[in-house]
């Protein structure tokens, strides 16, 4: 597996990091994704994804502030690295390319209310 290979969930998490910067850490990312997808997203899953992303060099992290809700423990704040943003852009390009080449009416119509 190439280092830059990006799983679907990882991609979403990476996007969420980009959205939530500069306050991106697992709890808020998980909350955000839960709102967006309507599914339950555990912190653990997000945490694991973030660790993988960091290993691949797509995000970097440093320890942030502690709060009372956290029992005085610090949080780890993530930001997207240059490599990360390149991967995101590449992924978007691939998708855009594909979207652009879809012939009109070849997708069944979905009624958006």
């Amino acid at each position: 597996m190439r280092r830059s290979d990006l799983g679907e969930f990882e991609e979403v998490v990476l996007l969420a990091v980009a959205v939530l910067t500069p306050q991106a850490y697992s709890v808020v990312i998980a909350e955000e994704l839960e709102q967006q997808t309507g599914k339950t997203i555990t912190t653990g899953a997000v945490h694991a994804a973030l660790q993988r992303l960091e290993q691949k060099g797509l995000v970097s992290s440093q320890m942030g502030d502690a709060t009372a809700e956290r029992g005085g423990r610090r949080k780890r704040i993530f930001t997207v690295t240059i490599a990360g943003s390149r991967v995101l852009r590449e992924a978007r390009d691939v998708r855009n390319n594909l979207w652009d080449r879809i012939a009109p009416h070849s997708l069944p119509n979905v009624n958006i209310a």
């Binding site: 850490y25 709890v27 653990g44 945490h47 780890r76």
Partner: protein, 876 residues
Amino acid sequence: MSLNTPGPQPPRWLDRLITKYCPPHLLEEVLGDLHERYSMRVQRDGEPKARRQYSWEVLRYLRTVVFQRQPSPFTQPALTDMLRNNFKIARRSLYRNKTYSLINVTGLGLGLACAILIFAIVKHHLSFDTFHTKKDRIYRITTEFHQDGVTVEANVPQPMGKAFSNDYTFAEKVAMVFSDDETLVSIPSSEDNRRFEEHVAYAEGAFFDIMDFPLVEGSKDSLLAQPNTAIITQRVARKFFGEENPINQVVRVSNKWDYKVVGVLKDMPVNTDRTDEIYLSYRNLKDYSNWLAGDSWTGLAGGMNCFILLKPNITASDVDKVFPALSEKYYDERDAKMFQFKLQHLSDFHFNTEMGGYISKGNLWALALIGLFLIVTACVNFTNLATAQALKRSKEIGVRKVLGSQRSQVFWQFMTETITITAMALVTGYAIAQLAIPYVISLLKLPPGFDNILQDTELLIFLPVLLLVVTFFAGFYPALVLAGFQPVLALKGKLSQKHTGGFTMRRGLVVGQFAISQLLIIGTIVIASQMRYARQADMGFTKDAIVMFPVPERETAVINSLRNELSRIAGIEAVTFCSRAPASVNWASVSFGFDSRPEKETFDIVVKAADDQYVPTFNLQVIAGRNIDHSDTVRDFLINETAVTKLGLKTPDDALGKKIEIGLNNRKGIVVGVVKDFHNQSFHEAIEPLCIVSSNEWYSDFAVKLNAARLPSSIEAIGDLWKRTFPEQVYEYEFLDDQIGRFYEMDSMILRLIQVSAAIAIFICCLGLYGLVSFMAAQKTKEVGVRKVLGASAQSILWLFGREFTRLIIVAFMLAAPLAWWLMNNWLANFQYRIEIGTEIFATAIVTTFAVAMITVGYQTIKAALANPVDSLRNE
């Protein structure tokens, strides 16, 4: 980490769970995230739902850490790394404190060697006859003989086997076995008619269906059913016939009866009490003794056993219920009360000493207890020295703790040290045990196969268990003390004895050690004195320089010519033909009638058959009447004082001239004299009523009183004569002293055992003491220096050390003495004639311990007392 977090908290146990499994460098953020999210959910969804979701989260998280654990940025020490480090430190510190390590390894090693040997011995005895596949159902019938008291015998009257199998259906198999004494067995086919003395048994073939003694040759069907057939073990076969095929060979028993070997048994295992190796057809018992093979229900012969294999659903109590009916059927009213029967289970054979068992379970457990004592002293030693050493290592512990060692880590470090020492000691102990095994075998008269016991699997399981147990008991306390040091105090050097568990703890341990040693010393002294008493006390007859020879043929002509020839040999002072010596295992104990009383007496009388020379040879004293006259058949009787008293006569003279009829072939005679009581058995037994009567047919030995100066030449001359007279027999003789010594075989075995244990216990104790006093001397160097400068004399310094140990020994003595007194009185209760436990025994014990302790502490103490105070005070 208790922080004042607002609001409800998630379940604590889940946090603990995650703390345990989460890599430490991730813990902070992970737990923080979880808690933050929890409090969010509490506000949004309420507490119950938040808690539910929290558990879900934790479980999910655990899944990720277990399966996708990310490496820590730091090198992760494996479990073994720390362990390796611990062993490295252990090795270094042992190497640095060589004396200390040596003392510990030697002490523990000795203790463990004893434990290993004792384990092996105890196991050996517990394994007796446990290899039979049907062992749960194997019994033998035993006889309870109700007379004045109750005596139990493992023997039964001969017709029992047949009666029991005909009258009752309890048994699957019944086998009568008569085990004879050593008997002459010769090989007629060999060139020089080779002769051996072997134990033989007359057995019914069913015996081999009951017990598992497999045949290697011959068929199991109709085994020994034919008369004049025999089976022998492989060992005997090799001994008799060498490499030849033993089947169909002929062996001759007592020079009279030929038996054809029809089967060969696998060698008897070492752990069985069935030691006979030659089995003859039971149908030939009538050749051996018509009376024995007859239908007499009143005769009880030693060695006559009735083995039974019960049917599966029958219990022993079912069978015991019918025995009264059996007694009533075969005896008249009076005898039915006397002869009562009972089943004895196989597992009791070896341990019931009343019925010929080898060793009682009590003695076996006493042995185990001694082993435990030795281990305990060795452990105590270790604990003692380790705590004494603790101060020396306080700096090390201080530094370790400052650098972040936790209490448990320090604890395990010291446990590692302990286990290293214990392991070394175990190896030493095993080696010592291996070296000692030949001595133990001869000391305890164990079978030669016993030396394999150290390769036994159960022992190999026992060893690691021993290792862990000893490590735990020896190391636990010192490790706890060391691990509990306050780092600040330790580094400042402000720790004192108080912090190492104090002197009291160590004093207690030393007292325990001394108490055990003194207990063993007192035991040794008491047993040794009793043994000396038993061997040297006046038994009422002379036993020095008397040699016993067997008389295998009892024809009057043979005896008379032998008597004549013996009188010509120089150096012989007296000769008497008799059935055994004055003190011996009873040859015959029979019922008898006295005077004209209508009923037989209510007690049995011991019969000693002997000619008129018996009294002068053994220096017996006739206190009334006269000695018996020479006669080849029963005529005159002598009885002893006990018999007179038991007969209810006022003076010995009242017995003279009275008729007496003994239940041995119903012989009659007249009482012509009374002899002063002499011990007719060991000191274990009370003197019994007995009579002395002459009759050639009953003599089994002749006793010769020799001139001590010409002992060897006389014995040689008698030997030549004997071999000429009985060319067909195996020549042997025995000194009466030795024969009497054999009464106390078990006792002297116990004595040797306890002697060795006491010696080892004292040695271990001294090792510990030496270690302790050297340490104390080092600790008190300054104190001694100051005292000397202020004018203390060398004596007062000696007393400074001596006082301490004297006090400990006295306290230990006060614990040990009453216990020893109680235990040894119990042991002495086995003897009808015994010593009193006097104060001198206790005095000896305390003086011995004291002396040994003083010698041990002496060197170090004197060194400390004589040291120049300048040396100890110069450098501060």
